[in-house]
Subunit: 387 residues, 2 copies
């Protein structure tokens, strides 16, 4: 009558739209109004909006525009508090912002059919998304990423997280957003450094997935660094598309060990941390891509010409390929420590994405310490010194 065990098995279907638009909160723009209308019920929904202070600083009328836009909508009402919060890594360095949002969810009676809307860079969205994911076991979360990096990478994906004792994304969940609105207008106010730094994630996804996109980036490197809006919009769009395809294709919640989209990231995380986040994520990823491309060459997986092209493209895009913090020697080299930490993070077994060609990734489970250091040396010496 009683079996030894019951096998439970089910699937959960997720669906969300990533919209591409400009001037999202202009009354003339119907994108957001149409979205809310399509989800309207006979119950008034509520929206709690959390905005990165860096965005408010450059868009001084934004809060007013948000209020006016929501006043024009039926079926949804804005919480009477627009939360403006500190942006950058500090947003996710501790539990403070998350606690503030949970408190606001409680005070404003935001329920599972209401919305928590985050507007800002990747760090703010990571913290807001986490707070939304754990409140009432998951409130509808809308992301409005405002940087190149968040529009083409983290902001459209399924992860959130905050740091714990300096450990990046130690706390977080896999929680797909309810919708994403990429508003290209926000990109105009980015500093040159922030504008460029997000391009490295596009180079990354092109290198592991799409040689044609890599060629497109190479052809448009000048336009991109000269802040050509059309070029950047296509870059963001195509990068987002490849990123989304990857997530939908295999293991969206990373139950396995394979994380192709983390190409170039193992060393990037260490460098960001060592620099006290002075090095921007996109810059660290550029260095990480250059390092793993050079390593791929030294291991005989990638031709010298291809590795050199990658490094030269990153340089042409105004991105760094080396950092003085990596100028060290011996077994306590930051890269070797970072590799050990990453191995431990993965539970004892490395899975690292490398390249066997432009547009073609390959996974390995060991890395040769001396060749990692040799790859770093090559980058320090303008790709001239070889093993």
């Amino acid at each position: 009558m009683i079996k030894e065990s019951i096998n439970q098995s089910f699937t959960v279907a997720y669906r969300y739209q990533v919209h591409f638009t400009k001037a999202l909160f202009s009354i003339a723009n119907p994108v957001l109004a149409r979205f809310f209308a399509s989800h309207a019920t006979d119950i008034m929904a509520k929206a709690l909006v959390v905005v990165d202070d860096g965005v408010v600083e450059h868009h001084v009328n934004l809060l007013q525009e948000i209020r006016a836009y929501f006043e024009s909508l039926q079926g949804i009402v804005l919480a009477d508090e627009l939360m403006v919060v500190n942006g950058g890594e500090q947003a996710k360095n501790d539990h403070t912002l998350v606690d503030r949002i949970i408190d606001a969810v409680d005070r404003h009676g935001i329920d599972r059919h209401s919305y928590v809307i985050g507007i800002g860079g990747g760090a703010v969205l990571d913290a807001v998304g986490y707070a939304a994911a754990i409140s009432h076991r998951g409130i509808r979360h809308i992301r409005i990423p405002t940087t190149v990096l968040s529009q083409n990478d983290s902001g459209i994906g399924v992860k959130n997280g905050i740091n714990y004792l300096g450990k990046k994304n130690f706390i977080g969940t896999f929680s797909p957003p309810f919708a994403v609105f990429n508003d290209f207008s926000f990109l105009q106010s980015l500093s040159d450094r922030a504008w460029r730094s997000g391009i490295s994630e596009a180079v990354k996804v092109a290198l592991i997935k799409d040689a044609v996109f890599f060629e497109w980036i190479a052809e448009h490197a000048g336009a991109l660094t000269n802040r050509d809006a059309d070029a950047m919009e296509y870059l963001v769009y195509r990068c987002a598309e490849l990123h989304l395809q990857h997530i939908a294709g295999a293991d969206p919640f990373e139950f396995g060990s394979s994380r192709p989209l983390d190409f170039g990231h193992w060393s990037a995380h260490k460098l960001e941390q060592l620099s006290g986040f002075e090095v921007m994520h996109g810059e660290a990823v550029a260095i990480g891509i250059a390092l793993d491309s050079s390593y791929s060459y030294l291991m005989g997986y990638l031709t010298h010409a291809d590795a050199q092209r990658i490094v030269q493209l990153l340089q042409a895009l105004g991105l760094p390929v080396f950092h003085p913090l990596l100028d060290a020697e011996g077994t306590d080299h930051p890269l070797l420590i970072g590799l050990d930490e990453f191995r431990e993070h993965l539970g004892g077994r490395l899975t690292i994405m490398l390249l066997q060609g432009i547009g073609k990734g390959m996974e390995v489970h060991t890395m040769d310490a001396s060749r990692v250091l040799a790859a770093a040396s090559m980058l320090q010496n303008d790709f001239e010194v070889q093993l």
Copy 2:
């Protein structure tokens, strides 16, 4: 070239086994050893074990048995700290226990391929499951429920959570366990009150899903209250089976408003809270079942005979069907306040499960206040007074 939007859509597959056994940590019991062997890799896995102090109190050799059992296993090593934590609702009333577990996850280097194992009642498992779900975006979580209530209901399901400012499960996630081990031996040490109280969830699931199971419970009411182990084991098994079937069947992560398994729960939550959790969850659910059954009769959905049978079965099982805290009048009656809070919790629109027969639930979206109070009166007066 750039579309207005990209539709992202994917499914995530979940699978876990719920095992039924006795003396799980006896060296002679191969169930857990087989489980770990089937998940072994070339990397040594780690296990962090968190135990409810109420369990340790009644099973004084348990910690020693756990250590000995793990020493007999290959491929997995126990963290050198067995965490014994306060059980009962206090485990989830604030963030303290969750923080302790996150700290231990960090200190012991528990990664996404290692295990956090919770042993205890529903409240401890809710807190441990939540801590596991947010650490590294989800560590493998094994549940070993030790009460009737957790073995047949919360411990085998997909939710976790902690309370926030007295609001039950305000913070939490939907995160299926990696595996569940229901060890019937733990039930023997339960107090009579705890033993009986878990039976109400079985009555609940029988009432909305399975008339045959209801008849079985009615036939075995005497055996169940006399602590017949075989009867209780079948009750736990069949209740778990129906519960699991329901979760797998529709909307496991409750994206919609329908929550059939919450039959009898809207008033139960209020009563638990009002009593300062002096009323046990299962007792409050018994009262909630009696109330909603009586209400179903008063609304003409259920026959008087069926409603009376339900109330009499609960009484025969030694469960309460009324509580003095519900002896009140007027619009500030705790039940009407509770109904309002529940409506707000659902975002403004009620969805309540009622009965249209034994084994047959039906959902409604409004409740008649005067008939709710009349149903309470009936229960107070031994099911004699009617509207």
